[in-house]
Amino acid sequence: MQAEWVWGLAGGLIIGIAAVMFLLINGRIMGASGIVGEVVDGSNRPRRAENMAFIAGLIGVPALASLMFAKGDTHLGAALPLVILAGLLVGAGTRLANGCTSGHGVCGMSRLSLRGIVATVFYLLGGGLAVLVFRHILGVI
């Protein structure tokens, strides 16, 4: 349990290196919601193959890691209607804001982008409020 921050830091550094690679080699911001969103809504056709390759890696490596090392588990506990509500909010919110934890949080904040910092403040506030309401007041998550 004590070592969890070490795994967090190590995993974080790897996430950062992935973003560095995508920026310095492909010249792009590594934003998960943008990459998935462009594939889903069919925008930015020239980048479609590249986006699909990114998603294939993003699914494939954790799948292998889960098979070979430690079985992955999301421990997703929320009831199905809440899961659907959450998914809708995450999808619409990130596209409306043009970014999520990776795009605004990692890539934006690291270049001291005001938009990235403001987005991060508001999604942390929204997340904190949701856990307060749904866990401590309603007791459903």
């Binding site: 969890e4 921050w5 967090g8 995993g11 974080g12 996430i15 950062g16 992935a18 973003a19 995508f22 920026l23 080699i25 492909n26 010249g27 792009r28 590594m30 919601s33 998935v36 809504d41 986006n51 390759a53 990114f54 294939a56 890696g57 494939g60 954790p62 890691a65 992955g72 999301t74 997703l76 899961v83 959450a86 998914g87 809708l88 909010l89 999808g91 619409a92 919110g93 990130t94 409306l96 804001a97 043009n98 999520c100 934890t101 990776s102 890539c107 690291s110 270049r111 982008s113 005001l114 403001v118 991060t120 508001f122 999604y123 506030l125 409020l129 949701a130 856990v131 749904f134 866990r135």
Partner: protein
């Protein structure tokens, strides 16, 4: 072809980092957001660890001029914040708190996230498809 290979490598590394850091575990994410309960600081280390190499990389971009495969680097972000940034981020955060998944981990955990994870992912994609209509409505209200 090179672009596709490096995109897959970046995605794979991103997935490895998410898996290793515990970001695909909704309990850790909700623990980080639970400032009134058993607060779990792990996510701060994940975010800090990810920002560090990127902060260096942004400095390198100034010297490189262009990305390795020839593209121009992403331009500096617009200084304008706009209501959609604030509204969208708040909605996203709210959903993030309810389920404990954001877009990267939702995709990364597809192989072991079970039916719930798949339903979250499909709902997220539906939300993305509905965004242009939502944006038009919000812009009309804000005008």
């Amino acid at each position: 072809m090179q672009r596709i290979v490096f995109a897959a490598l970046s995605g794979g590394l991103f997935g490895a980092g998410l898996f290793l850091s515990g970001m695909t575990d909704t309990r850790k994410v909700q623990g980080w957001l639970d400032i009134f309960g058993q607060w779990d600081p792990t996510l701060a280390f994940v975010l800090g660890g990810a920002i560090l190499p990127m902060a260096i990389a942004w400095r390198i971009t100034a010297k490189m001029g262009r990305a390795r495969l020839g593209d121009a680097f992403p331009p500096p972000p617009e200084p304008k914040l706009g209501h959609n940034l604030v509204i969208g981020s708040t909605l996203f955060g709210f959903g993030w708190g309810i389920a404990g998944l954001c877009p990267g981990p939702a995709v990364a955990s597809l192989s072991y996230g079970g039916l719930g994870g798949l339903i979250f992912l499909l709902a997220m994609m539906a939300g993305m498809l509905g965004t242009p209509a939502l944006r038009a409505r919000i812009d009309r209200l804000a005008a």
